[in-house]
Amino acid sequence: MLTEKYPSEIQAIFAKYPVKRSAVMPLLYLAQREEGYITKENMQEIANLLDLDVTEVAGIVGFYTMFHDEKAGKYRMQVCTDLPCALRGADAFLEALCDNLGIRVGETTPDGLITLEEVKCLGGCHRAPLFQIQEGDMVAFHENMTVEKTMELVEALRKSVNSSPRAATA
């Protein structure tokens, strides 16, 4: 139950919005914080909190690409391969990354650390290849990347997970 887990956060979110239903997005981020995805139970709870129907909440989760309703790796690595990025080698970068990680797009590394995703424009075309790393309710950009730099980052993430669970994207 979100209300049990995050009472003060929820109160703070509610205080920001004169219309209750407006709080749906921050509540969804909150629901995503721990597990990186939103369960149907959480959607139902948010719907109840905001006097919405669960389908309306689910529609928002479905519409926005940074809300997830399925479990994935701890970090979602989201690479843009749109045309401007591709011109700067993003597609080749992604391919090489797949080889190095040993997974295909949409798959998760066996240790559950990284899920590799291909996404639409991240708004950083001039710094491609780039990706964002989403962890729970947080996100970080990594621009002008190479496979080597990326693999170093992955290694760092792996280490940080072993020491402190939420340090990587902070």
Partner: protein, 831 residues
Amino acid sequence: MAKLINLKINGKPVSVPEGTMVVDAAKKAGIDIPVFCYHPKMEPVAMCRQCLVEIGRPVIDRATGQPVLEENGQPKLQFGPKLETSCSTPVSEGMVVITDSEKARAGQREILELLLTSHPLDCPVCDKGGECPLQNLTMKFGPKESRFLYDEKHHAEKHFPLGDLIFLDRERCIQCARCVRFQSDIAGEPVLGFSQRGRHTEIVTYSDPGFDSVFSGNTTDICPVGALTTADFRFGARPWELKSSASICSQCPVGCNVTFNVRREVKAGGGYVIKRAMPRQNEQVNEIWMCDKGRFAGYQYTEADSRLKLDSPELDQALSQAAVKLAESASQAVFLAGGRLSNEDFYTLKQFATRLGAKAYLYTRHGGGEYTTRYGLAPGSNLGNLGKGDTVLVVASDLYHEAPLWYLRLKAAAKRGATLIVANARATKLDEFATFVIRYSYGDEVETVKSLSSKEKVGEAIKNTHHLVIFYGADGLGLTGTTALAQACADLFTSLPVSQTAPKANNGLIGVWSTPNQQGALEMGFAPCADLAAELKDKTVYILAADPAGDDPTLAEALKGAKAVIAQDILETETTRLANIVLPAAAYTEREGTFTSGERRVQRFYPAVPARPGTKADFALIAELAKRCGIDLEGRSALLVMNQIVANEPAFSGITYAKLAEVTEQWPIIGRSDLFYGGTGYENKQGLGVTLSLTPGVSPQGRDKQATLLSPSPAAKEMRGEGLRPKEDELLAVPITKLYDNGTTVAPAKLLAAHIARFDGVFVNPATAKKYGLENGSQARVSLNGVTYSASVLLDESISTGVVLIPRSFGIPLAEPAFVLLTALEPAQEA
């Protein structure tokens, strides 16, 4: 009256009220602009872009505020650089709209081409084929060929059950959101939504069970493609094979106008079969909607295996035997008729009873009819006209379950600004849209209504209203309670200034009956019997369209003590099983007649299929019986009976079958040639019905006399001043009505079995359940009036801890509220 705006569409001058959208203005002028997402019953969203047109507006000189003129004296027009969506553009003075220029046509054509890229074109196997807006508009406006590659077509899931009643074909969906918007804006149940975006956009439901709405069938009517189909009709028939037959839904007192589609089938030995029910437009009753109960249980019972039938000699013999028994008994005969009978049946029965000297009762536990006939809605009423300045009071009724279309209509009235007051002992779905919600304890209904005028805001809303409409139901009430409640509601009318209480349109008291024609019976003076069990003893009982034995074991016992029981019905029931003589009646789908709705609107239904061999219309059976008793009654046709009703029943004066069949132009335009615009539902060609007049010649006292012609109505006993307060360990059991129940006419609807099962049990507050060691779904003993039943426990947080709600028609008879003991059937498991 809104200001009229003048504009020209394709050169044709048009005048429409301010605020009208261009697409509607064109439609009114007989010009079709293709639409998909737009629907005249819903706010425009301009999502599909199909309705693109060229729009020019007069250039206004900013200095003078006058239109700039061309050399030839005509106003100079400024056309937009791009095509505009006519569904979301309101008309303006001097506007010029061109819908058929090459530019406009190209826009419309290209949108269609684009929509078709992700459409499977499986028309030959699609249920919508033949009545499909996408198909029709493609033929009329679309490109002959697509420039896109067929192999790159978007493919998605087919045959996806949104719920058990509605199937979704994802690749046929064109994302117009008509269904999504219907559910959220009109039904008030936003259980459909979009997920994902762009080409991946898809319709989803997260409700449990899926597509949890009682209006779900309507989405299939307004779906402009074959994406949404009903479980009963999909792959059932092709639209062009179907004949349509006008009818009235018989499931509740709203009287929704419906169309039955029939065809002859090999499976039925070449006979006619009803393939589906669809709404038929009547903007004064059901608009273009109907509920799922009407759609999926409205006619199915007339085709049930349990239909009664006799061959001709058997029927003849049964009639003769019955006539002998009735003639012998004469004044010792009791007639008992359910509200499923038509006006013609009731009238014939009344004549028979009067001439025979028998007593005739209406079989119902919902009293107060003597008030609804006197204070009912007057001609010209239309709930669709209620709005700002009007007040609607709903008391002791869960309209969502008892009369879903009234729920829709009142929800809409509240949205238009009407003050909606909902008073009930428990939360109901209408609360969400109410201006004021009043909670009382069961037993306090009358006191609550009496105290309304003295409440500050609610009292003001009632006293200062232009129109007052009161709906009263039987939530938690029996015969005594409903009668007293009706009186209290009627007193509200009499206590108001005369200007408000004189009969006028959109003013009056409506009983939320459980049958389609209780109002018609009441208007002819039928009344319920206060102590039926005692009344039946040693009598010859003639029961029509009612199942007292199935409803209540005490009545079954009483019938066993009767001299003889003659049961006339269309289906086998407990009552027909214990009857000495059974007379098989034709179903209402097999004959002609009229029902009087709760709004006092008399409406015709027509035969959809031929009567089964060995059955006859109720009025014809009654007339046959009478004839054999030496009483000559009209039994040849419903029309001839109606002629007599009109001559002899003051309330029905002035009505003719021809008048009932009259239609006037309705908006929006829907139906066969216009189904792209308003949906697949049927336009009304067979009659809008006529509201009974509140007979001016008859004084209320006179009407009282009329009402007691046949039998004294039960005395409206004063209710106890305080609520019914149970003792320790006791709970108060009250009867309530759920939409889907095990009633004679609902149970045969196979498709609704799971929906019916959801209400099969007794409802208690979770705290109460816990106290008695019960949980959701566990079995309990319910001891009531000296009898113990076992039932499933269902939890409802919205009800008070001291009550047990007993849904009607689920096997636990509860005529009046009573105290009850609840015990766990098995020792509760520790949670």
